[in-house]
Symmetry: C2
Subunit: 113 residues, 2 copies
């Protein structure tokens, strides 16, 4: 009864790390880093077809990493880094542990300067 067809409604609804797990999505974010771009413009540099890029963008939208604004008949995507800072906070917890233990992160990073 409660069996909705939600399997297709959310082709992928992972958390931030799950969204960052795909190299294609990371490349999309990197491309978006230079500035807002339309969906078709994002597809140009990718090794996959448009529907796949559209779904990857939907995943990024679901976790709040990107946002889309309608502009005419185009849809302009832009970056939203807030979930990224959330992921960074998790990383900092781990690295802070390491800092407290060794007290010398530069020894590991070796180029922090």
């Amino acid at each position: 009864m409660t069996e909705q067809t939600a399997a297709r409604d959310s082709p992928a609804a992972p958390d931030v790390f799950g969204a960052l797990a795909s190299p294609v999505r990371r490349r999309l974010l990197m491309a978006l880093r230079a500035g807002p771009r339309t969906a078709s413009s994002l597809c140009e540099g990718m090794p996959i077809a448009r529907p796949a890029v559209s779904e990857h963008l939907a995943v990024l939208r679901a976790v709040g990493l990107v946002r889309a604004v309608r502009r005419g008949r185009e849809q302009v995507y832009h970056l939203d880094p807030r979930p990224l800072t959330e992921a960074g906070a998790w990383l900092n917890v781990m690295l802070a542990f390491w800092n407290a233990r060794l007290g010398d992160l530069s020894r590991i990073e070796e180029g922090e300067r």
Copy 2:
């Protein structure tokens, strides 16, 4: 006759973000944060059986996030944060971009409305 049966040899060989995508693996890293622990000790707090934990540990080992040292008939796992700093570097690239254009935040918020 090189490694042809490698399909099972590497049940999952993603990059660092791929390894961090699984909540179970993140929890394993968090548990390891308190100090080195044996494999069975890691299984205790987990909601899955030992073979699954073992494969998750294999994934973490493949990307270099953990390392195992034999101690008698036990195997002691300990954390290695270097790949983590690599992931942090990627995040910093994205967040640095955002810091450079903090002034655009209000503009985007307006455009969304």
